[in-house]
């Protein structure tokens, strides 16, 4: 404490010496806040310091094979990302759009083609550390931080394999990850040469890329509208009359007729026990009350399995696939009472 305090004083003095107009620079040591904060224990730091940098500092030891990654993927990842990492139904696709040539050049060629639809993670990501770090800290989406380091090496290996970056029999580990990094398809496709980093840490002083001029008179010839919402989209954001204040210089345009069939189903259901369980366990992230999202609507499930509490309970606990589409539902870790409440609610018509 005392040495850092003296450093602060020294810095304050230096600042004072180098700044003639700073008349009231506080010379008192700013570090002197007795009783505030304590040293973290090594175990506390280890529990939270999970980030992995592009130089792989922070990467834990471990390994995982493509084959094991595929097993984990199908159970925990495919429900959102598709069996081959190709789905865009919940999040942007992870795999696709890269070629063997990209692995050689380190720059995904299709990024130059405005006609190529969409951008996958593998088309964009420059550092493999980014993928590893994010899967470890934030995935699976509804159970973040439940994967072990070996699990993360495995699912990362599986994704890399889908992208043709590593072979089928590959095992990714903390020892060979740098070699794989040298094969990342877009490792050379990024730049920090722009004016939108607010510090000088990247060692560049770049001017903004657009230099507009504030013309005041006769600036442009006749104006021409080139883009506007088509008439059929008039009500696509609900009734605008209900989205504006009822007093003031204007009202919202009444777009109600166009919205009667296509109104967004954002209304929250009444809070009753099973509904609270659905909220708490993020079931509503994949299932709508009356409309299909990733999985089927609750009302559709109810129609299909009236009165079948036990069957529904089993599906909730064990997961399922193939009944409602290609994307499987993973097994849900949900308490017995809660699971039964939801199953009973579904069996009884899933009403509000």
């Amino acid at each position: 404490m005392s040495s850092s305090a003296s450093r602060i004083v020294l810095r304050a003095l230096l600042a004072l010496a180098g700044c003639g107009v700073c008349i009231a620079a506080w010379a008192q040591p700013k570090a002197a806040y007795p009783g505030i904060g304590r040293d973290a224990t090594p175990k506390e730091v280890a529990a939270w310091d999970i980030d992995v940098r592009p130089d792989f500092k922070g990467l834990p030891q471990g390994s995982g094979s493509v084959a094991r990654g595929q097993d984990i993927w199908e159970g925990k990842c495919a429900s959102c990302h598709g069996v081959f990492g190709e789905s865009n139904q919940v999040f942007s696709p992870i795999v696709g759009g890269t070629t063997a040539e990209d692995i050689k050049t380190g720059h995904v060629a299709r990024l130059k083609d405005p006609a190529f639809p969409g951008r996958t993670t593998l088309m964009k990501v420059a550092s493999l550390s980014t993928v590893w770090d994010y899967v470890y800290r934030a995935m699976p989406w509804n159970q973040p931080k439940s994967l072990t380091p070996d699990d993360v090496f495995a699912v990362t290996a599986y994704m890399l394999n889908l992208g043709g970056i590593v072979p089928d029999d590959f095992t990714l580990s903390d020892r060979n990850i740098r070699e794989v990094q040298a094969r990342m398809p877009n490792r050379n496709g990024t730049t920090t040469a722009h004016a939108m980093w607010p510090g000088n840490e990247f060692g560049r002083a770049v001017k903004p890329d657009v230099a507009a001029v504030a013309c005041m008179r006769d600036c442009v010839p006749a104006t021409q509208t080139v883009s506007q919402l088509p008439p059929h989209a008039r009500g696509s954001h609900g009734n605008l009359a209900e989205q504006n204040r009822l007093v003031g210089p204007q009202r919202g345009i009444d777009t109600a007729p166009a919205t009667k069939t296509g109104a967004p189903a954002a209304a929250a259901p009444a809070s009753k026990a099973p509904l609270a369980v659905l909220e708490k366990n993020s079931c509503v992230a994949c299932h709508g009350m009356t409309q299909k999202l990733v999985g089927p609507a609750f009302s559709d499930i109810a129609k299909k399995y009236p009165g079948q509490v036990d069957h529904l309970l089993e599906k909730i606990k064990s997961g399922g696939s193939g009944v409602w589409g290609a994307i499987p539902m993973p097994p849900q870790t949900i308490g017995d009472d809660d699971a039964r409440a939801v199953a009973r609610w579904l069996a009884e018509s899933a009403g509000p």
Binding site: G35, G37, D49, D51, V125, T190, V226, S227, L229, H237
Partner: protein, 447 residues
């Protein structure tokens, strides 16, 4: 002209608003001295549209002439509601999702109703939301902040301790890097809420991050980078420029607009990084690490990156460049009548103060400078106003801001010439609202 008219406006009665037989009956009853009948006849006329104007012509506005219950009865007692709410008549002023923008409700966005806000402060309950893995209401007594990395000793702080430290309060805007991102290629959404509503402004209260780094004995020399990490499921991480931290601007905040942060805004602790896109303002802040290289986190190297026409992605694009938008009148609204309007809107710059805002009502051909209302603060929203008498003919309203670095907000043509249309993020182009002859206002883009 639209069928909406100014309520309370006194208009000349139309001819024959009561039919001829009716007039004869009224006068004959009047001669017999039946005042109660006459009152009844006029009360009935008040109920019908045009007749209301006629009454207003003869006597005045019923909203003035007939004393309402709130002038003739007893109102509510104090503390009917211990944490008050807006008037029930303000129920339309809400945060909203843009339908179809995101398939989940947890990794999603709600937009602030900019078209209904005054001044520069966003009410905390209307502050836009962006969650990456759902929001939590965290017990502040169990929340901790850790400082580690290139420090002499890793430190842990409780919220009680952080709130004992000398605090500062500052007004700043926060804008999502994807704000207006749906409009890079063409018009996609109807109102200012959806085009620009990932924007809010609050007074934030907290401790300068530099104070905590100094307390941990941080090595502040050279090119350092700070990693900020959240405590929610996504454990959101972002690299923050050390030079900005050194300036004292970056805050570890617990207060917002005089109250604690709202849970949707990171209660009990979030980072405030003035001028920088919202994703860096890490919510539920649990850890700050000091390092000697950028961290390459998902949301600075895979998302929130800008794809240039040459196929290069710009990474670590963080500053929200100078931008403005007219909020009244704006898309999806109908003007009530011809005549005077106060055109008003918001301007901001991530590089400093707004220096000037110009407004055009002819699609950018001619411009006039608007009044900037005080306060005009650095990296904060600035409110502008300018007079306009609408003659009922079509008009295209635009605003163009300039900041104190001399940077001028560009038009779509200029921005696209450099960045193409595939950037998604950091669209700060000039917005155009087309006022049609019927009073309706539409979102348009000009060639």
């Amino acid at each position: 002209m639209s069928n909406i008219q100014q309520p309370g406006q006194v208009r000349k009665a139309p001819e024959n608003f009561v039919d001829a037989q009716g007039v004869r009956t009224v006068f004959s009853e009047a001669r017999k001295g039946r005042r109660d009948f006459i009152r009844g006849a006029f009360a009935a006329a008040v109920a019908g549209g045009a007749a209301a104007s006629a009454l207003a012509q003869s006597d005045g506005d019923p909203a003035i002439l007939q004393l309402p219950a709130h002038s003739t009865g007893l109102g509510q007692p104090v503390v009917t509601d211990g944490y008050g709410k807006p008037s029930k008549y303000e129920g339309n002023v809400q945060r909203r999702q843009s339908p179809g923008l995101t398939p989940t409700a947890q990794a999603s966005v709600s937009f602030a109703p900019l078209q209904s806000l005054f001044g520069i402060v966003t009410p905390s309950g209307l502050h836009f939301e962006r969650h990456h893995q759902g929001w939590w209401d965290i017990d502040p007594s169990k929340h901790r902040l850790m400082i580690n990395g290139l420090v002499k000793a890793a430190k842990v702080f409780t919220l009680d301790e952080l709130m004992r430290l000398p605090s500062v309060s500052r007004f700043h805007f926060i804008e999502c890097g994807a704000n207006t991102g749906m409009e890079w290629g063409n018009v996609a959404v109807p109102t200012a809420q959806y085009t620009h509503g990932m924007l809010s402004c609050s007074e934030f209260t907290g401790v300068p991050l530099i104070t905590l780094l100094e307390m941990a004995g941080a090595d502040l020399k050279g090119e350092r980078f700070v990693l900020a990490e959240g405590a929610d499921g996504s454990s959101m991480t972002r690299t923050i420029p050390m030079s900005l931290v050194r300036s004292g601007e970056v805050l570890v905040a617990y207060g917002q607009n005089g109250e604690m942060l709202r849970p949707e805004q990171g209660y009990p602790l979030r980072l405030v990084v003035p001028g920088v896109q919202g994703v860096s303002w890490v919510k539920y802040l649990r850890r700050i690490e000091l390092g000697d290289m950028p961290y390459g986190t998902k949301d600075e190297t895979v998302h929130y990156v800008d794809l240039m026409p040459d196929g290069q992605h710009r990474q670590y694009t963080s500053v929200q460049e100078c931008k403005s938008v007219v909020t009244t009148p704006s898309g999806g609204q109908t003007l009530l009548d011809k005549g005077f309007y106060n055109i008003t809107g918001l301007a901001w710059s991530g590089r400093g103060k707004v220096k000037r805002v110009d407004v055009s009502v002819d699609g950018g051909r001619n411009w006039r400078s608007a009044r900037l209302e005080s306060p005009v603060l650095s990296k904060c929203l600035t409110r502008f106003n300018i007079d306009w008498a609408w003659d009922g003919s079509p008009a295209i309203i635009q605003s163009r801001a300039m900041d104190d670095t001399g940077y001028v907000q560009p038009g779509y043509r200029q921005l696209r010439a450099v960045r193409g249309t595939r950037s998604i993020y950091h669209n700060n182009a000039i917005q155009s609202w087309q006022v049609q002859a019927n009073g309706e206002v539409a979102n348009v883009q000009l060639g």
